[in-house]
């Protein structure tokens, strides 16, 4: 009997899950240092891969190419925003946090600003950011299962919860790191195979990054550059040009600038990313592992816009003005999942692509651009299955990284350092496992019952990371003069402003774009929050007494190489 998509999916997803569990058992830990920072013995290359998987979430893997496909040039906010933050990490944060050498981000904040209050503010931010982010990942696991194996979403979430529970509580950071290495390999292979195949098919150029700038070799646009073909199609349909910037119907320059900055700075301030650089041996290794991480991330992030462009042509060219009963097979396959839907409004039996709500006949979920890719490229069933496994790897690896931040914030920053200081290492390890387990269950609950402000969640996580952590960490290293009063005032200002602005427009919906400050959308407001944090922190630090000498000595020590 020939295997179909379902059989392959069971086989490949089952095999990858068995691999992750195997790694978790092999990498189990017995100390808090192992649980929080993998004993600080992870090689730079492995940490780079783990960071790549940690970073690239269900959204990066499944949704990003589709988003860019609908946004054209505006999609660059994600591409630059989610990679440029690594430059900031390498230059301003990762080596110094590693040199500091303890376990968590709030711990650094507490020590540098000689204040438990600062540490508590940091803990609350870390937990809030991580929970808003993790709910989407558990949901992602459920969605992939429901689409590939037709499970109910909650069944998929349960399976995800069990997997993460197992390897996060057993292996802590060590288990998570090495499963993330495996997960990176799965997800990148799953992303690249269909991308290369589609590039080859459409442009005769197998490298998607180049195919994207090559000529189309088949169909009505043969001999025309791919991007020109898309711009032409857009003009015919009355849509703004795909490659056009700041034209009517697209984002303004100010907004693109602010969102890109907020995403970059937010990336550099996300605790689950920062903590990955605590796990290597030295500050020098931290720099190199940022470089590896960026290479591994860039591999997917330079492929995504190519996939987006191919999908754009495919979608419109193969569907527009085509009789519905001659629609390609992938179209009818995906109709059953509800991700694509046709409604013949003018009753002519033809599919018309339009973005005008009056005449719109085609409803497309952006996720289909990646999920249906292998079928559009007529690839074998095992590739379709591999894409499902890749989506699961992306979601699980990110979820695990976030859960570890929550767990260490609770057991290390709250229990050990504030509530029960005389706790033994064994007890603390137990507490870390219990809080990891508890966090997984809460994340699973939110995965099954997603809060209805999902659209605001990403803006929140990045905006808050940008407006709270980034300025406090950077100034903590680069200025010896910033004080605890400055840091607390800065963080509180940044968070309050950013949270209020996002809530006003996205949760309570009191106003629309015409009320935006300087034309900056809630997604980009973290940039302004960050600037306020910097300004308040510097101003308050000027008028408060300088940090004690031992703190200034600590900063000097962090800045110097290890000299071993």
């Amino acid at each position: 009997m020939e295997w179909g998509i379902q059989e392959w999916t069971y086989a490949i997803v089952g095999a990858t899950f068995a691999l992750y569990i195997g790694i978790a058992i092999w990498a189990r830990v017995g100390t808090t240092a192992g649980f929080y920072v993998a004993g600080q013995g992870v090689p730079a290359l492995a940490n780079g891969m783990a960071t790549g998987a940690d970073w690239m979430s269900a959204a990066s893997f499944i949704s990003m190419a589709g988003l860019i496909s609908f946004m054209g040039y505006d999609g660059s906010i994600y591409l630059m925003g989610w990679t440029g933050g690594y430059v900031l990490l390498a230059l301003l944060l990762a080596p110094y946090l590693r040199k500091y050498g303890k376990f968590t981000v709030p711990e650094f904040v507490g020590d540098r600003y000689y204040s438990q209050a600062a540490r508590v503010v940091a803990v609350v931010c870390a937990i809030f950011i991580s929970f808003t982010y993790v709910a989407g990942q558990m949901r992602g696991v459920g969605v992939v299962f429901s689409r590939s194996l037709e499970f109910e979403i909650y069944t998929g979430v349960y399976i995800g919860v069990c997997m993460v529970f197992l390897y996060a509580t057993l292996g802590g950071m060590r288990g998570i790191t090495y499963t993330q290495v495996a997960q990176y390999c799965v997800l990148i292979v799953a992303y690249l195979i269909p991308a290369v195949a589609i590039s080859q098919k459409m442009t005769g150029q197998p490298i998607p990054q180049l195919g994207f700038g090559s000529m189309v070799v088949e169909g009505p646009n043969a001999g025309v550059f791919l991007l020109e073909a898309i711009d032409g199609i857009h003009r015919d349909l009355g849509l703004p040009e795909y490659t056009g910037a700041f034209v009517a119907g697209k984002k303004s320059m100010t907004d693109i600038f602010a969102i890109t900055m907020a995403l970059m700075v937010g990336t550099a301030g996300l605790p689950h990313v920062l903590i990955r650089f605590y796990t290597v041996k030295t500050a020098r290794m931290a720099r190199w592992s940022v470089m590896w991480a960026l290479i591994f991330i860039a591999l997917l992030y330079t492929t995504a816009p190519a996939v987006a462009a191919f999908a754009r042509v495919n979608l419109i060219q193969t569907l527009h003005e085509r009789p519905y009963d001659q629609a390609p097979e992938w179209f009818t396959n995906w109709e059953t999942t509800g991700l694509i839907r046709f409604e013949d409004k003018n009753g002519d039996g033809l599919i018309q692509y339009s973005e005008d709500p009056e005449t719109r006949e085609l409803y497309i979920d952006r996720d289909i651009m990646v999920l249906a890719n292998p079928e559009i490229a007529e690839l074998p069933a095992w590739v379709v299955a591999l894409v499902a496994a890749g989506g699961l790897a992306a979601a699980l690896s990110t979820a695990a990284g976030l859960l570890l931040v929550i767990s260490s914030s609770i057991s290390h920053d709250l229990l050990k350092s504030i509530l029960i200081p005389d706790m033994t290492d064994r007890r603390e390890l137990l507490a870390a496992r219990i809080s990891a387990g508890g966090a997984v269950l809460v994340a699973g609950y939110f995965g099954i019952h997603p809060p209805d402000y999902v659209a605001a969640v990403v803006a929140f996580a990045f905006g808050l990371a940008a407006a709270s952590f980034f300025p406090v960490l950077v100034l903590g290293v680069f200025s010896k003069r910033v004080t605890k009063e400055g840091a607390i005032a800065g963080m509180v200002t940044g968070i309050t402003f950013t949270a209020a602005y996002i809530s006003y427009f996205k949760i309570f919906k009191y106003g629309g774009p015409e009320q935006w400050w300087f034309g900056i959308s809630p997604e980009g407001i973290g940039t302004l929050g960050m600037l306020m944090n910097f300004a308040v922190m510097l101003a308050v630090s000027r008028v408060t007494p300088p940090p004690p000498p031992e703190v200034q000595a600590m900063v000097e020590e962090i800045r110097l190489p290890s000299r071993v």
């Binding site: 690594y86 390498a90 490659t243 720099r287 290479i295 000097e556």
Partner: protein, 89 residues
């Protein structure tokens, strides 16, 4: 840790200065490649085409990312060298 960490020697200051200069230059490159070429100057650059790419669009969706990778690589290499000089002193 081979030396007294709290005493601030002259070559510690020199090391930190070299690092700051390198960080400053790198941040400038980071800003120009992404915000400069990919956003602020995207419209004029889009009138130039390299192969099938309008140049500004290419920087925003490919070029900036490639520059980031090279930039972090160069930074890590330079810092290795600065640290080596530092140890030989």
């Amino acid at each position: 840790m081979s030396k007294n960490s709290s005493s601030k020697t002259q070559h510690d200051v020199a090391y930190w200065r070299r690092n700051l200069r390198l960080v400053g230059v790198s941040l400038a490159v980071w800003f120009i490649a992404s915000f400069g070429l990919g956003i602020l100057l995207v419209e004029p650059l889009n009138t130039i085409h390299i192969g099938g790419f309008p140049l500004g669009f290419w920087f925003a969706q490919q070029g900036a990312i490639l520059v980031f990778v090279v930039l972090v690589f160069v930074y890590a290499r330079r810092m290795d060298r600065i640290e080596q000089d530092d140890e030989e002193l």
